[in-house]
Amino acid sequence: MIYSTRSKLILSFLSVSILVSGVALIVGGQLLYKAVLNEATTRVRLDLNAAREIYLSRIKGVKVALNVTTLGPVFRASLEKHDAQKLVGLLRNVAQQTELDFAGIVTKEGKTLCHIGPHSIPKEPTLPNPIANLALQQRTAVSGTVILNNEFLFAEDPELANRARIKFVPTMRAVPRPQTEELSGMALAAAVPVFEAGNFLGVLYGGVLLNRSQEIVDRVRDTVFQQETYNGRSIGTATIFLNDLRISTNVISPDGNRAIGTLASEEVKEHVLVEGKKWIDRAFVVNDWYITAYEPIEDIFGQRVGMLYVGVLEAKYADVRRKALSIFIIVTVAGMALAIGLGTLIASRTSRPVQQLIEASIQVSEGNLSPEIGPISKSNIGVLQKTFKEMLTSLQERDKQSEIKLLQSEKQASIGKLAGGVAHEINNPLTGIFTFTHMLLRQKDLPAEVRSDLETIAQETERVRKIVKGLLDFSRQTELDREPTDVNRLVRYTLSLVENQALIKGINLNFETGEGLPMITLDRNQMQSVLLNVIMNALDATEPGGNITITTGMGVSANKPDQKGVEIVCNDTGCGIPSENLDKLFDPFFTTKEIGQGTGLGLSVSYGIVDRHEGAIWVQSKVGRGSTFTIWLPVEEERAKHENISGG
């Protein structure tokens, strides 16, 4: 029972802690992850803006460089004179300084005058130049992204055509391509028309090829992500797509190289290239998950030709989440351990007094009424302990009382047994004495002296019989057999029994009858033996010529002053009782008589009988003057009235 209480406590603690930490784990983890994700997407959105700025600033840089070039007087003069040789020198100088991959001049007829690559002054008719032609048509400077085909690139510089060629690498989650490689190049280019005094001289064009270029993407990585790394990998990546093909990137493929030739995932391609929207979400990039931002790149003709991408490794944020989750789990486990510990502690604290109470109750059931129940607990178990203790105390008291009662009844029983045994043993020889004394007395011719002696024997045997009877009565303390009795009649009858004795002793026996006494319900035989006892004692105490006066009348007991009662007073002019003996007078076996003269049984038996009648017996005495015994018996009002009428 105790163990189950303990386990219940622990279990409830555990379940609460599991519930709380479980909810905290899920909700907290989710909230945290969302916050982290939110932070990350906000970051890549900003990063994408930064990347775009870098991309656009590079275009602007090309445009500015070309613009500045067209303003140079040497350049203008050379262009006016179509001095190709000189122009090539100038252009190569500019291209080197501003890191242009290609640059050249197209005449107002649309023919390439020169460019910086090999065969710088082409003889044969040249291929159409998309950006220069746009500037030619619009007679204004243009700049932006432009797609250049393989032939054009080859004509500009075979090296460029070679750089632009990119083999497709099969990529997870991407749309497979029927072709095996991409030949076109994507370039950031500008074209600036040159005028001289209102005359249109031609167009200066130039640009950088983005294929396999590291310049822009690495600048994005270095400025935006500041070379932040995670597990040895750069956390931030940037990519320029030609359509969905990575042509310039710092995303690293598993072989350790830049993932040029790999493709964007299908959903990104669909979202950004086809629908022309921004993509800001987690996405699968080459071989890992990133928090990414994509936006379409439009060329100078407004066509969506590619995408600009930045992304941060999701692993970093997942790691933050994982760390948070593991902290949550550690807290949970710690909480559970605490719950178990606390539960055990509280359970044992709670159950210790209960256990002690159980042990105590077992001891009580085995008869030990003062078991150890330990210190009183301050909790509500303390109330139980106190109640248990009180219960024990009252049990002990009850035990003690019943023990006393038992002792008393045992005492009485043993007295009874003794008296019974003595009576039985004495009564048999008494039968013999009676028999032979009386048989002798039957003889007619006995001498007078012998007869007198025999009569004495008979009388004394009679007395022994009475003593034994008294002893039996005392031991048995027989219950009262009450009936309404006229006290005066009872006294008169009793006196008749002792008349002869008084006569023989020469004592005057007087009876002063009280008038109008109520009937009293009493045990006539027992009350008669009381009276007999008192009168016999008086006879014994009084010398010949003395007086014994019995008086009846209404009286009051000192113990019950409000109770009406009848008293029987026996006054003698005998020797009296010394005051030191007065108190002991009613003790059993107290006697002042010589051995053989009395047993002392009478008065204690008498006391018991009167007491059981709710009455009282007391004595007043003066040595040499005589004694007065008073027997007081209560009158029961209702009964007294009734009997007064009927009994007269």
Partner: protein
């Protein structure tokens, strides 16, 4: 008239014998209940005088045994310890009379005659003998 006295105390038997023989009764005596039953098998008695308290089997036992086989014989039970309970039990078991010990010769004789008076006279004995 033949009376059997059953008592383990010799003085009681002696006393009873003295009193009853003086009155002309024929008296036999035995000291125990078992002996009394043997005696009853051999002889007929007109009255039994039995003590309550005896070693081994007491007077109550003896009375029960007698009532089984000789229900008509009058029985006087005597006791030196006459409690109301004993008296009630004795009378319940069918004793004719109860007499407390010690008794005077007159008391015993009176009881015996009273007990015999209540019994219808036996055919084998002349009437009016008690």
């Amino acid at each position: 008239m033949k009376i059997l006295v059953v008592d383990d105390d010799a003085i009681v038997i002696k006393s009873c014998r003295r009193i009853l023989e003086a009155e002309g009764f024929e008296v036999s005596s035995v000291p125990s209940a078992d002996k009394a039953l043997e005696e009853l098998k051999s002889y007929d008695f007109d009255l039994l005088l039995i003590d309550v308290k005896m070693p081994k089997h007491d007077g109550m036992y003896l009375m029960r045994e007698i009532k089984k086989n000789w229900p008509e014989i009058p029985i006087i039970i005597m006791s030196g310890y006459p409690t109301p309970e004993t008296i009630a039990e004795v009378l319940r078991l069918g004793a004719t009379l109860f007499i407390p010990k010690p008794f005077k010769p007159d008391e015993l004789v009176k009881s015996v005659r009273q007990a015999l008076k209540n019994v219808p006279p036996k055919k084998s004995f002349p009437t009016g003998a008690g």
